[in-house]
Every structure is written in C-alpha cells, then in structure tokens.
C-alpha cells in the first residue's frame, strides 16, 4: 500500500467520523466540530491525489529538478502535481471561513435561546 492510498483511506475514515459526530451529537459546537473533521478528511483526500512516493514538492530549489536547464522546463517525473495542493489551500481557507460563520451563528443562537442543544432549534418545520 503506497502513501497515497493510505492518505485516501484515512481521509474517508475522517469524513465518516466527522459525519457520525455531526449526526449523533446534540451539542451545536460538537456538530461544528464534526463538520471540521469532515473538512479535514476532505483535505486529506485531495492531498492524497497529488502524493507520489519518491517525488518532491514542485518548488525548484535544486537544478536537478529541471529537465532542460536552458528552457527551465521541469522534470515532470521528479515533482508531484501542484494543483491538488493549490486546491487544498483554497479549500482550507473556505473551510475556515465557513467554520467561523457557523461559530458566529452559534454565539448568536446561544444569546437568543440560551441553549446549545440542536433539538431546541425546531421552530421551523413542516
């Protein structure tokens, strides 16, 4: 089993853990925590796509990474794919934003209702 598959498996395990947490815990904070775990799992899944054993980060700090020194072309077999990493960075930023907004909501909900139990949030239904 290579590292990529391992990360992929771990990522899905985290997603499931997070989902279980979000589904089973009644406390709003814990539900948000569950969501964060899901998010982390997703990030790991994305990162796993770019992982290739024996390759290095696509940062050209060593002339050995260039296949042709005059055109500065990168040796594609020496570095990992940078795109998933860019995706992860973006996803992390968005995840932080959403988490922050959720926590803001929880603060305001707690101010109004004085509870963190999700079962109390059932005024709107049917």
């Amino acid at each position: 089993m290579n590292a990529g598959t391992l990360y992929l498996g771990a990522g899905f395990a985290l997603v499931l853990t997070g989902l279980a947490c979000a589904l089973l815990r009644r406390n709003l904070l814990r539900m948000v925590l569950g969501f964060s775990i899901v998010d982390t799992g997703v990030h790991l899944i994305i990162a796993s796509i770019g992982t290739l054993t024996g390759r290095t980060a696509p940062i050209i700090d060593d002339p050995a990474l260039l296949s042709d020194a005059t055109t500065l072309a990168v040796d594609a077999t020496a570095v990992v794919d940078p795109i998933p990493q860019a995706l992860v960075l973006t996803a992390i930023v968005i995840g932080v934003g959403v988490t922050a907004l959720m926590l803001t909501y929880i603060v305001r909900l707690h101010d109004r209702a004085g509870t963190l139990d999700v079962r109390e949030l059932r005024d709107l239904k049917w």
Binding site: V15, V98, Y105, L109, V118, L124, K125, W126
Partner: protein, 1061 residues
C-alpha cells in the same frame, strides 16, 4: 467590453463600499445601486448581439484552459446575469434597510454581502472550470448564510444555521467529487473533463471509480438545488429569512447553481443518470406542491413552490441535454420562475403579513396591487401569455413525442396542485375588506414586485408572436382596448361600455374582412356566437354599466381570448386561447360582490378541465399530429385516449353532473351582466371543443364503431342526460333567480352534450341548433333577471312579485324566453327538442330519450316560477317605485327577441348552416331541408312556419274571445287587497312563493340526498390529510435533515452503481 467586468465591478464595489460608507449611508446605497444598474444595463445592451447564438470565451490571465480559467458568455449567461443584477437592484434597498434596524448587523454593511452574492453568482454562471465552480459556489453559499443572519428574527438564525450545516456537508461532497475527478481525468476544465470522458469511452477511466466520484458531485449539487428529500433546510430558510433576501437568492444563488449543474451535465452523461434525475425531479414537483397545500404561512408556501419548480427543471434537465426536450423550454421555465417568484417574494415581504389568514382582504382596497399579484400568480402557475406557459408547452409536447410520455402525468398533477394553493392565496387577498383594519399598509415598496410583474408579462407577450393567425388584428384590437380600459377604469362606466362596444364592433369588422366569419365553417359559426353574445351584453351594459372598475377591461380581454381560441390554427393556439379564457373569466367571476370563493372553485375545475384537454392534445401530438385537421388521421388507442381525455375535459368545463359543483356559485355570484355572457357564450366553448375535435375524430374513425347503437359516445350520452335531469330538478328548488337560471343553463348544456354524443349527423345538427338557441334564450333571460335585480336590489324571487306593471318589457322578455326554452310550439325550442328526440329515436337510445323528456317536463316547474313569482301575484310595497330597465338595455333584449322569433319561424335557415358544417365529416346531412322551409328527417317532418301560423291563429281567436266576449273587467291598483270579512294580511302572505315545491322536494328527498358537493369536500379532506401527514417528513431537526442526505447518498449510490452495468 469584457464579461469579466460583471464579476470584477461588483467585487471592486464590495471593497470600496466600507470606504464610501464614511461619506454616509446614502453614498453607500448609491454605489451599490449604480453597480447593479451598470451590470444590468451592460448585459441588456449586449443581449441583441448574443441572440444569434454568439458565444464569447474569455481566458483569464492570458492562459487558455486547462492552465487558466476560461469564462464563457453567451445568451444563457447574459440572461441569467441580467436576472441576478435586476434582482439585486430590487432587493438591495430592502436588505440594507432591514439590516439597518438591527443593532447587531451593521446597516449598510449588508450591501457588501449583496455585492458578493452577485459576484459569486455571475462567476458561477460564466466559469468553465470545475474548481472555480466550487469557489464561486462557496461564495454564494456563504453570502446566503450571512444574509440569513442579517434579519432581526431568531427564526432567521435557526433557518440560517440549518441551511448552512447541510450546505457545508454538501460542499464537502462536491469537493471530494471535484478532487477525485481531477485525479481520474487530469484536468479541471469542465469541457476538458467531458471530452476526456467522452473520447476515451468506457475504458478510458475505471467506471467504478468514476461512478463513486460522480455520486459525490451529484449528491452535493442536489443538496444545493433543494430537491426532495433534501429540501427541508431550504424551505425552512424561506420561512425564517426576509422575503427580499430570498428573492435575491432565487435570482442569484439558486439560478447560478442550477446553471452550474446544467454545465456539469456532459460529465454526468458518462453514467446515464437520466432516470435518476427524472424520478427525483418529478417526485419533488409533485410532493412539494402537495405539501404546500397545508401551509398557513405564505413565505413557507413560496418555499415549497420554489422547491417544486426546481424539481420540474431538474426532471427536464437530462432530457434537455440529450436533446429530447429543447433547452430553451427549460430555460424559459427557469426565467419565468425567477421573475415570478422574486416578484411574489417582494410582494409578500412588502405586504408584511405572515399567515394566509392575515392576508385576508389586504388587497381589497388597492386594485393595482391586486392586478400585480394576479399577474405574478398567473405567471408562476404557467398561464399564457407568460413565459412559463411556453416553456411548459414545449417541454410537454417534447415529452409526448419521446419515450418519456408517461411523465406528463406527474407534471400535470403537480401543476394542478400548484393551482390550488396559489389561487387560494389570491382569493384571500381579494376578499372584500369588511373592517377598516384590513387594508394594505405596505412595510416596503411594491415597486420591485410591480416591475417584475411587468417584465414577466412583457417577456411573455414577446413570446406570444407564435400565435399569429388571420384574426390577429381583431385579437390585438380587443386586447389593446382591454388593457387601456383596465388602466382607465376610473372613467364613467357608461363611457367604458360604449368604448367596449366600439372595440367589439371593430374587431367584428376586422374578422369579417379576414374572412373568419363564414357561418358554415366551424370556427366562423362559433366566432359569430362569441361576437353576437359580446355585442348584446355590452350593448345592454351601456344601459346598466357594471360598477366594478376592472370589469370593462377584463371583459374585452376575455373576448380577445375567445377570438384567439375559436380562430386557433393549431393545437397550441387552441390551448393558449383556452387557458387565456380560463383566467380572464376567473378574474371576471371574482369581480362579483361575493365572487372570491366561487371564482376560486371555478378556477380549480377549469384548471382540471384545462389539464385534461391538454392531456388529450398531448396524446394526439405524441401520435404525430401537428394541425387540428390531422386529428382525423388518429387511429387505435391514440384516437381513443384523445377522445376520452378531451371529452372529460370538455365535460368538466361544461359542468356535467359530478363536476357541476363549480357552476351554480360562479353563475350566481358573477357580476349580473357577466352571468349572461357566462351562460350564453362561455358555456358554449366546451361544445366548440367537442365540435372542433369531434368532427375530425369522427371523420377518421371506423364507421362501424361510430354507427352502432352503443358506440363510444354512449357513456357521454348518459352523462349529458343525467346532467339534464339532475340540474333541472335542482333548478326547480332554487329561491335565487340567478341560481335557478344557473342550474337551468347547466342542464340545457346537458341536452347539447347528448346530441353530440350520438355521433350521428342528425344528433350533431340538433346539438348545434340547440347551442345557438340556448345562447339566445339564456342571454335574454339572464339580462332580464339582471334588469330586475338592478331595479329591486334582490336576487331572491320570493321578495319580488307583481312586477308585470312595473317592468313590462322584462315580463315580455321572460315570457318569450321561457316559452322558447321549454320547447313547446310555436317558439324555437320546439324545433330543437323535436330534432334531439328524433335523433335519439333514430339511434335507438330510447331510455335516454325518456329521461330527457321527463327532464323537459320538470323544466316547466322552474320556468313557471320565473314568470309567476317575479312578475305575477302581489306587488311588494317596497317595489312601488320600481322603473323599467333603461332603453338601451331593452334594445339589446329586443335584438334577442327578434332572433328568437326569426329562429322560431325559419329554423331551416340555421339548419342549412349546421348541416353544411357537419355533413363533410359524416358524409351525410341527416336532415333534409325542403324548399318550403320544412325540415325532413327519417321519422317525419316539421314545418315551423306552419306551426307558428296555426298557433298564432288559435291564439288570436282565443284572445279576441276574451277581449270582446268575456266579462267586463274592473281595473284596481296592484296594492288594493280586498278580502271578504277579513283583515288583509301582508302582501307576502297572499303571494305564496317561498319553498314553492316543498312537496316535490319531499318526494325527491332520497335523490337529493346524494350530495356531489359532499363527495368533493371529502376528496379535498383526503388530499389535505395526505399533505398534512406527508409534510411531517420535514421535522425541522438539522440532524434529521443530515440523515436524509446521508441516506439519499446511499440510495443514490445503489442507483448510480447499478447503472454501471
């Protein structure tokens, strides 16, 4: 100009806003408004250049895809961006002022979020990059979450949290899908992915992995699209968040998500998800509309409605992608929904009433607002001429011709459910305000709602150019005059009626010029009926103009739609005219003093009739028909089902027994003049439908099938006979003069239905003769009763009496009318009844003939009451000052009396026309018309002129005998009551008129206890109970909703993976 500006400009404005705010809130609002106006103006100016399918691809940063992010800008993108900018323009005022009232959410700061919402939506619409799609999706989602919290209600917080919680999980699903898809295909460009999946074919990527990946993407997007069973949080959002915010999200976040999903269709095509999407979408459309029935809160109802309409779009999307349905049709549905729903949401937000009960009577005092709400409701339920009608029609026609024809049924069922809750809402808003408290006090501006109402109407009218026929001039004249009168409702009623008369006359002249009035053609025949009826009713209206301001304009719009309907060149024209007739007449019924509830019922039954008719037309279209003439080429089951569905639709619209419950109230509570038109002309339109399609179906049918005694028409024949006898019986027991005539009218239509059901040339000729005769008589009778009601102020017959001296012209009108209607010689009804009995005997339908004869006898009972109770007997003291109807009114009636007399003496003139109409289809006339005016059928002959001469001669002798040889009479005043040795009681007791037929009522008690009304209420109760239990599915618990999403993912996994084969 570069389309990137549609993203960049609002984004720049969002950054500038905090700075500009230092110059004051006004400056900040100005900046936001200018930004949206700029985007809107730029896109709209661009639209003409994009009309021919031109497409602009922009590569950002100079890098072409797949390295850079490509944006595409075509007609679809432009329209969606225009909608988002327009909605932002309509909403930003309300959003920033709402936020301003709330200390915790900083006033104009809400504008930054609105700007970002537009940024996200425009980006989502244009981008061709998968990851970019995710980023913009997150921007609109976060903007939605943030806007949900700007309100000052804790409901908004709850709704926002639930929505965000599920949305976040959906985003995670989408992100997994995108990343894995990149792994499989090595690119993030949507077109690149689709290409690599397509070019590579099945072997290029591991199918199982692809299935799993698409599943995540698919499930994530379906949460965003708010389809069943994932729509709970979205519906809660409507309930909790300000309608102005929801109007914005409909036009931005929702539309952009739908379009993003549409762009991904080529990727989803790798695994055939057509059926999965159709099931989900169809279920959403039906269920969300069903659950909406039980909503007491207007906003939540609108939420269910959004979910339903999105379901319909999701259902059609895979078909649009494969080309089975035109993508334009689906686009029209989306545009229609956006305009109408945003308008309705703004409307609901500005009126500020939460529950349906609070809406009661809110708009009673503001006609402009009522019209606006009506237009938006008509748009959202897909009535012509609004864009939704064209979208739905094109989609349904395409469905009928493809392999998914059965899917028409859920679409029509859901559409009918939609009718119920929208028109109930409209009805409540129309209820006349009895207390001063329920009047419109808008908490916000109604301008955005009005503006979108006008835009959606304009868009629809622009699309209506498909309906051009030879009668277009006349239709435009009538419709244009109608719109003018609608606006000029404040002018004196007499003037408005005079202008209406001019419009009707002018359109008649135009139709004559266009050759549309040839009486021997089916359309010419019914066109003359429409024009004659409209002319007489408007002429009478000059005498007693209706007092409702909107009546005049609506009446002309109705006449316009009737001209369109009758002169239709194809099935589309027919159905568009039919639906236009439905809603214009609905609004006219609602003009009555207590017309709201009857109008609501009228609309439901007419809606059901419309969908049955549409079903029949679609069966025919599915079998390859394109013109109405092609209906003759139908054969086998297609012909049978077309006939059954059309017959059922026309029977409902003709108020046949069972579906008659809408008619008595609608006829009774309509404005008095309109009742005459309703009975005289509108009730003939289902008969027109029967003739128009029936002649073709008969011409194409196997003669052996039609010729036998018990053919396919036998059931319809019984329906007509039962209607005739049942309604006649009920008519005899009414105390209300209009209600009596209403039942009479419905019963008389039953006679015509029997005639058509015979499917013999004689039967059809008889039915057509009866149609004309009944039109004239009912116009005359309803007008006479209208005059009496106008003068006495009551509809109850026992409160009248002895009016013969006060209103002699009306007495003569009613006398002529009832003699003609009852079918005794010498007047016109005799020939009609004689023909129908002959036709029945010829066909050997003896039992039905017996029933009709019995019904005719019962008809005497109620006809007698009209004369006896109203005009004879004792005058009521309070009617001492009653005057005759105005001269113009009497002139209109005189026209009708002359028509009856003419028809009575020369029925052969009309029969010459009707036989010429039907003979080509049957290959036989069924009636022979002799040179001396005699009418010959296989069983005998009738010389109406001879009968008339004979009866008149006998009458003259009798009259002379009474006049010259009888005892001398003494004239006394009508109120001189003399009784032998007794104190004269009140006149009411001398003239016994109340509960006149009590003995008959007792005798028929077991029959009368069969209450169809109760049956329908029970049906409504069952439907309501189903909706009530069904909607409990949405428990309101965030975790339950998440559970649904997880279970849905599981089921979708099974569905998707099983499709991998």
């Amino acid at each position: 100009m570069n389309p990137v500006l549609f993203i960049a400009v609002p984004l720049g404005a969002a950054f500038l806003l905090p700075l500009v705010r230092r110059m004051g809130d006004r400056a900040a609002r100005g900046l936001a408004g200018l930004t949206f106006a700029f985007v809107l103006a730029a896109v709209v100016a661009w639209l003409p250049a994009l009309g021919n399918g031109a497409m602009l691809t922009v590569t950002t940063g100079g890098w072409p895809a797949p390295f850079g992010i490509a944006l595409r800008f075509g007609l679809a993108e432009a329209v969606l961006i225009a909608l988002s900018a327009a909605a932002a323009l309509g909403s930003f005022g309300a959003v920033s002022s709402r936020a301003g009232r709330d200390a915790t959410s900083g006033g104009v700061r809400g504008l930054v979020i609105v700007l970002l919402m537009v940024v996200g939506a425009n980006g989502l619409i244009m981008t061709r990059d998968l990851f970019n799609t995710f980023v913009f999706l997150e921007i609109v989602s976060i903007a939605t979450y943030a806007l949900a919290a700007t309100g000052d209600e804790s409901r908004g917080l709850e709704a926002g949290f639930k929505y965000m919680f599920l949305g976040a999980v959906a985003s995670a699903f989408i992100l997994i899908g995108i990343a894995m898809l990149y792994r499989l295909t090595g690119t993030l460009s949507i077109d690149g992915i689709a290409e690599s999946l397509m070019v590579g074919g099945a072997g290029a990527v591991p199918m199982f992995a692809l299935g799993v990946v698409l599943l995540f993407l698919f499930a994530g997007f379906l949460v965003e699209l708010k389809v069943f069973p994932l729509n709970g949080p979205a519906i809660d959002l409507y309930d909790g968040v300000s309608p102005a915010v929801m109007a914005l999200t409909v036009a931005t976040a929702l539309n952009a998500s739908v379009y993003a999903f549409w762009k991904l269709m080529p990727i989803f095509r790798a695994v055939d998800l057509t059926l999965v999407l159709m099931v989900i979408g169809g279920a959403t459309f039906v269920l969300a509309n069903l659950f909406a029935l039980r909503q007491s809160r207007v906003r939540r109802m609108l939420g269910y409605s959004t979910s339903a309409q999105l379901g319909l779009i999701v259902m059609l999307m895979p078909l649009a992608h494969s080309g089975d349905v035109s993508a334009t049709a689906v686009g029209l549905l989306l545009v229609n929904h956006t305009l109408a729903k945003a308008g309705l949401l703004w409307f609901a937000g500005s009126v500020g009433k939460q529950t349906l009960v609070e809406w009661k009577g809110v708009l009673a005092g503001s006609p402009a607002a009522r019209l606006s709400l009506a237009a938006l409701v008509l748009a959202i339920v897909g009535m012509p001429p609004f864009p939704g009608f064209w979208g739905k029609w094109d989609a349904l026609v395409a469905l009928s011709r493809g392999p998914h024809a059965w899917w028409i049924i859920p679409v029509l069922a859901g559409s009918l459910l939609e009718f119920i809750y929208y028109f109930r809402w409209l009805r409540l808003a129309h209820v006349p305000a009895e207390d001063a408290e329920t009047k419109l006090e808008p908490t916000g501006s109604l301008v955005p709602a009005h503006a979108f109402g006008i835009i959606v109407l304009g868009a629809g009218l622009a699309l209506s150019s498909r309906l051009v026929t030879s009668s277009t001039d006349a239709v435009l004249t009538l419709a244009g005059a109608g719109l003018v009168l609608l606006i000029a409702g404040q002018l004196p009623g007499r003037l408005l009626q005079f202008l209406s008369l001019a419009a009707v006359a002018a359109s008649g002249w135009m139709l004559h010029q266009a050759g549309s009035l040839a009486p021997t053609s089916i359309t010419g025949f019914f066109m003359l009926i429409v024009l004659f009826g409209a002319f007489t009713v408007v002429l009478a209206g000059i005498g007693t103009p209706p007092d409702r301001k909107r009546y005049h304009g609506l009446f002309l719009l109705l006449v316009a739609s009737l001209v369109l309907l009758v002169d239709a060149r194809g099935p589309l024209g027919f159905f568009a005219g039919w639906e236009l007739m439905t809603w214009t007449s609905y609004l006219l019924v609602a003009q009555g003093q207590r017309g709201g509830r009857p109008a609501f019922r009228y609309m439901l039954f007419s809606g059901a009739a419309g969908f049955l008719v549409l079903g029949g037309i679609l069966v025919a279209l599915g079998a390859g028909v394109t013109t109405i003439g092609d209906f003759a080429h139908l054969a086998g089951p297609a012909a049978l089902w077309t006939a059954i569905l059309l017959g059922a639709g026309f029977a409902v619209k003709a108020a046949s027994a069972g579906a008659h419950v809408w008619a008595p109230d609608a006829y009774t509570e309509s404005p008095d003049l309109f009742s005459a038109f309703l009975s005289g002309v509108l009730s003939k339109m289902p008969l027109f439908g029967i003739v128009l399609f029936g002649t073709r179906l008969v011409a194409g049918a196997d003669p052996a099938l039609i010729g036998g005694t018990y053919g396919p028409g036998y059931a319809l024949g019984w329906l007509g006979a039962i209607t005739a006898i049942g309604m006649t019986l009920l008519a005899a027991l009414q105390e209300d003069a209009k209600r009596l005539l209403a039942y009479s009218s419905v019963g008389q239509i039953g006679y015509a239905v029997v005639g058509f059901a015979l499917l013999t040339p004689l039967g059809w000729t008889a039915a057509l003769y009866h149609t004309v005769n009944h039109m004239i008589i009912k116009l005359l009778l309803f007008l006479a009763i209208a005059a009496v009601i106008n003068r006495t102020g009551t509809r109850r017959m026992h409160e009248m009496g002895g009016l013969i001296k006060k209103m002699p012209a009306q007495y003569i009108a009613v006398l002529i009318g009832i003699i003609a209607l009852s079918g005794v010689p010498p007047l016109s009804g005799f020939a009609g009844k004689w023909l129908i009995y002959n036709a029945l005997i010829e066909k050997e339908w003896y039992f039905i003939a017996g029933v009709l004869m019995f019904a005719s006898v019962i008809a005497f009972l109620y006809l007698f009451r009209l004369i006896n109770t109203i005009f004879l007997g004792q005058l009521k003291p309070r009617h001492r000052e009653v005057r005759e109807a105005p001269a113009v009114f009497v002139v209109a009636q005189a026209l009708l009396v002359f028509a009856i007399m003419g028809l009575s003496m020369f029925p052969d003139a009309l029969l010459r026309v009707t036989t010429a109409m039907t003979a080509p289809f049957f290959g036989a006339a069924g009636v022979e018309l002799a040179a001396d005016g005699s009418v010959l059928v296989s069983l005998g002959y009738l010389n109406a002129f001879g009968v008339m001469a004979m009866v008149m001669g006998l009458f003259a002798v009798f009259f002379a005998w009474v006049l010259f040889l009888g005892p001398k009479t003494t004239k006394v005043g009508q109120l001189d009551i003399v009784m032998a040795a007794e104190e004269p009681p009140a006149p009411e007791e001398i003239h016994y008129a109340y509960d006149f037929y009590r003995p008959y009522k007792r005798a028929f008690a077991p029959v009368l206890r069969v209450s169809v009304e109760r049956g329908w209420s029970r049906f409504a109760a069952v439907l309501s109970a189903v909706a009530e239990y069904g909607r409990r599915f949405y428990t309101g618990d965030a975790q339950t909703y998440l559970l649904y999403a997880v279970v849905f993912l599981g089921i979708a996994a099974v569905a998707v993976l099983s499709r991998l084969g």
